[in-house]
Amino acid sequence: MAEAVISKEEIMAVFPTVQKTMADALGCDVDDIKLDVSLIEGLDAESIDFLDMVFRLERAFKIKVPRGKIIEDVRGDMSVADFEENGILTEKGLARLREYLSEIDASRFKTPMRVDHIARLYTPETFCKLVIRAQRASQAAG
């Protein structure tokens, strides 16, 4: 089943909290957290920072985000073999990634794309959408 589109209004509703949470986690100014800045290339975030951000977002929004949730969501119902081969996204996997990370400029998707480099694409907007999806899942679960 296709996911309901996430509107800009929904994103902007959660962005201030995401922005403050990320600034706290990264030890930077709130103003440095632009919606479309690359967290790794623009703000020097490391894997521990992603763990920290998700941990803080869970508490700030009272949601649960399983580790590896983004990759899991991107893959969706595709088999691992369809999604990646030896750590490199397949053509179908890359197409699915582009669709899922629709907020990312197309020029930033490299070919070949390594699975462990996907996080380099993440922006604050990626995490806003992660929060919104978690909120929707929580509401659906009642």
Partner: protein, 293 residues
């Protein structure tokens, strides 16, 4: 496998499961949600930093985490959101350790915990998260499983910990009154490396935190012009492992507490290796006795 206390001690008197192990016995395990344990600070040690009480709580959580994933992964220090120190433990004290695990899987463990002495709270840990890594890089899974059995049954003989050396800091001149910097030479050899970890020696994050606390305390006392004590440590983030023999640059910088902070003095601390930040935290201090003159 069940060992009696004498053979458990005989099997590992100094190195692994002794030199840097701070759980003597696991007294109660309630699924992967709550676990209790005991640790007696050897009366012979001259120094038992309060950060090692946090280490003890973390190790208790680690045992249950490792067991829950059948010793395929082990947690390592990553984040500690809020640690509150209520009183200083002293040699000979028996710590009652309690951990509540909020979530645990092969990626990470989230937990909170506390340590008490004679029913009095010594230290509380909240919002703590450890990254779970492949256990083979650190220790032998079968040996850890056997140690876990010992802890759950007869317990380890207390007193194996022989202490840690006081960190030696060498000041780096700085022209800012609100900042201190120093180098920390991580020892090339130390007994704790045999236990932390047997297959990959890593400088314990709690010892790094203790060294950072020494620097921060000096700055806090200069600012307060009186003796101060650390009350709370927040935003602990460990970014990288520190190997034996590493040279670290520690920094401590005075910051302004927020209106929500009860403690009057906030020092931000950092540690870097080869220019890369490897750890950071916020340390809150208050006058040791009432108010400063």
């Amino acid at each position: 496998m069940v060992l009696d206390r004498a053979s458990a001690t005989k099997a590992s008197p100094t190195g692994r499961f002794a030199a840097f192990s701070f759980v003597d016995r696991i007294t109660k395990i309630e699924g992967v949600t709550r676990v209790s344990g005991l640790y007696t600070i050897p009366p012979t040690v001259s120094l038992f930093p309060v950060s090692l009480v946090a280490e003890a709580i973390g190790q208790l959580a680690a045992w249950v985490a490792m067991s829950s994933v059948k010793f395929t992964h082990r947690p390592v220090a990553a984040l500690a959101g809020d640690t509150r120190m209520h009183r200083m433990p002293k040699p000979g004290d028996m710590l009652e350790l309690i951990v509540e695990i909020e979530s645990c899987d092969a990626d990470s463990i989230q937990y909170k915990g506390c340590a008490l002495v004679d029913g009095q709270l010594v230290l509380e840990l909240q919002d703590t998260l450890g990254s779970m890594l492949d256990i083979h890089a650190f220790d032998a899974p079968a040996a850890l499983a056997a140690d876990f059995e010992v802890l759950k049954t007869v317990g380890r003989a207390p007193g194996a910990f022989s202490g840690v050396p006081q960190p030696v800091l060498h000041d780096i001149p700085t022209d800012r009154a609100n900042r201190l910097q120093a180098t920390l030479a991580v020892p090339e050899h130390a007994a704790f490396f045999e236990d932390h970890f047997p297959s990959r020696p890593v400088y314990p994050a709690t010892l790094l935190l203790y060294a950072q606390q020494q620097l921060a305390q000096r700055l806090a006392e200069v600012q307060a012009r009186c003796s101060v004590r650390v009350c709370r440590i927040t935003n602990v983030k460990v970014r990288a492992f520190t190997a034996p023999g590493a040279s670290l640059v520690l920094s401590a910088e005075l910051a302004t507490p927020s209106e929500d902070d009860a403690e009057p003095i906030l020092i931000k601390v950092g540690a870097s290796a080869d220019g890369r930040t490897i750890a950071g935290a916020k340390m809150f201090f208050a006058p040791d006795s009432g108010e400063c003159a």
